[in-house]
């Protein structure tokens, strides 16, 4: 069944969109990530203009992260105070990211800029996650995740605040910075940024694992909602029809993914997720290095 998307102005197969939503939803349910880093490149692959893919991807992440954060609230696994600080940093970062995005657009380098960010961040995080989780797999019975308990610069900064749910007494500056970085990436890559936020929370902020996923989802919900609004108002690039189908597929996929995820061990999940992240990074990296079939590209002005 073909469906004409009113904003993207392309006609795509509705089942293909449900399938993409379902596939990404399945992975996001299994791994506890938003899946924006998969949705955006996949949408571009099927012919959705990059601007629409980024903006609509953000809208889709709102739905999946809301669903996740509600479940986490019920388990009392959200540090509201930390989440709020991260969100404030995230909103500033997202605004700054939007500005840089426009700057790159005017220089005609949007696609290369987005591709480079994908390769750089997905490659880095994927490699880190893979080595860490492989090591954890080999060390059976050892503590699952190392926390940044060591006394570091994070503990010497001013403006210390108590984050009770996380059991932390640290400066607000590191979480603000972490939020800023993730918000920035969210705006330029059309992702929620969970795959960067989670390692930052564990290794830099030293948050306990039980509140990490919930708090990261809390922050992602607000930052992606804000990103969606900014894109809708300034670029008119949110396609509601496209978002609706992705969300519908994603919601169903996420439920199945969660059930499969429960059966797998956390370390196995992290190995699989890191392989997936690395695959996307390598694919996009090849696109940058290999001689393209068509050297010319057309952009509407």
């Amino acid at each position: 069944m073909q469906l004409y998307l009113p904003i993207a102005e392309v006609s795509v197969n509705a089942f293909l969109l449900l399938g993409i939503g379902g596939f990404v939803g399945f992975l996001s349910g299994m791994f506890g990530v938003g899946g924006g880093f998969l949705i955006t490149p996949l949408l571009m692959l099927i012919g959705v203009p990059p601007g629409v893919a980024v903006a609509t991807g953000a809208n889709q992440v709102v739905a999946s992260s809301i669903s996740g954060v509600l479940a986490q609230f019920k388990r009392r696994a959200v540090d509201m105070k930390m989440g709020t600080v991260l969100t404030v940093g995230g909103l500033v970062g997202s605004t700054f990211g939007g500005w840089v995005f426009d700057l790159m657009g005017r220089a005609g380098q949007t696609d290369v800029f987005v591709q480079l960010s994908y390769v750089l961040f997905l490659g880095l995080i994927g490699a880190m996650m893979l080595t860490e989780s492989l090591r954890a797999l080999r060390r059976v019975g050892a503590p699952k995740v190392r926390r940044g308990r060591v006394h570091s610069i994070v503990h010497d900064l001013p403006f210390k605040v108590k984050f009770r749910a996380s059991g932390l007494y640290i400066s607000v500056l590191p979480p603000l910075m972490a939020g800023f970085v993730v918000g920035f990436l969210s705006a330029i890559m059309g992702v929620g940024g969970g795959f960067i936020m989670v390692p930052l929370m564990i290794y830099v902020l030293g948050m306990p694992t039980k509140v990490v996923v919930g708090t990261s989802l809390f922050q992602i919900t607000f930052v992606t909602a804000y990103t969606t609004l900014v894109h809708a108002v300034t670029h008119h690039t949110v396609d509601m029809m496209l978002a609706l189908l992705l969300i519908l597929g994603g919601v169903i996929g996420a439920q199945i993914g969660t059930k499969v995820g429960v059966r797998l061990k956390a370390e196995q999940l992290r190995v699989l997720l890191s392989l997936l992240v690395l695959m996307v990074a390598v694919k996009i990296g090849f696109d940058l290095i290999l001689t393209p079939a068509e050297l010319y590209s057309v952009t509407l002005r």
Partner: protein, 251 residues
Amino acid sequence: MTGVMRGLLLLLALALPLRAEEIVSGVSTSDISITTDFNGTAILIYGAAMREAPPPDWPLLQVIVTVEGPATPLVIRKKQRVAGIWLNRGAVEIASAPSFYAVATTGELEAILSPEEDAKHHVSIPSTIRAIAGKEDEDTYVEALQRIREGTGQYRLAQNAVLLLRQSLFRTDVTLPANLVEGDYRVRIFLTRGGKVVDLQENVIDVRKAGLERWLYNLAMQQPLIYGLLSLVIAMLAGWGASELFRRLRL
């Protein structure tokens, strides 16, 4: 004296038919609605060459039909390898290029239309693309635009696709693709003899989004804040609904 001359000339002008051959034509549709299930459509363009006197035997009558979508300004960029990475380096600005352009003819376009007439009426694909001059290799960029859009089906040259019967009746089908931009689509029919245009006629097809498509598009453009908030509400309801449904199913 001059008055008599003028009167004679006027009589002469009235006695001669304005054109030797005139197009009478029709298009199968004057409105196309882009609805949710829109997946491209075909239009039929048909007509006849009407004449008062018997037509000349040579050169033969030829027919060219063009369908042209709304034009937009755009930028064509060229990638170049910089430090191992392909970056956009060169760019040519195009003042106006049609979003869709199809040409159907009864023969080789170059053989049935002279370069002068092409320059005057902008019939061939390159002649419809108006570049902002200034770059020496501008032509390769315009060729690239044509190549890319021919690949996506946005530009099409279908030679010998117009059926011409008894040097008078003609018809052709033009398929409009699914990724159609809304606006006025100009349909032009040219009659040519020996490369010269003997008559031309224009029709307009109104291509508009309709129903839900129209409503969403208008809302997104005119009330972007409300549209953005609505997108969020839908996302939130879907996310919340899913988590509630899942919780109930598990209990």
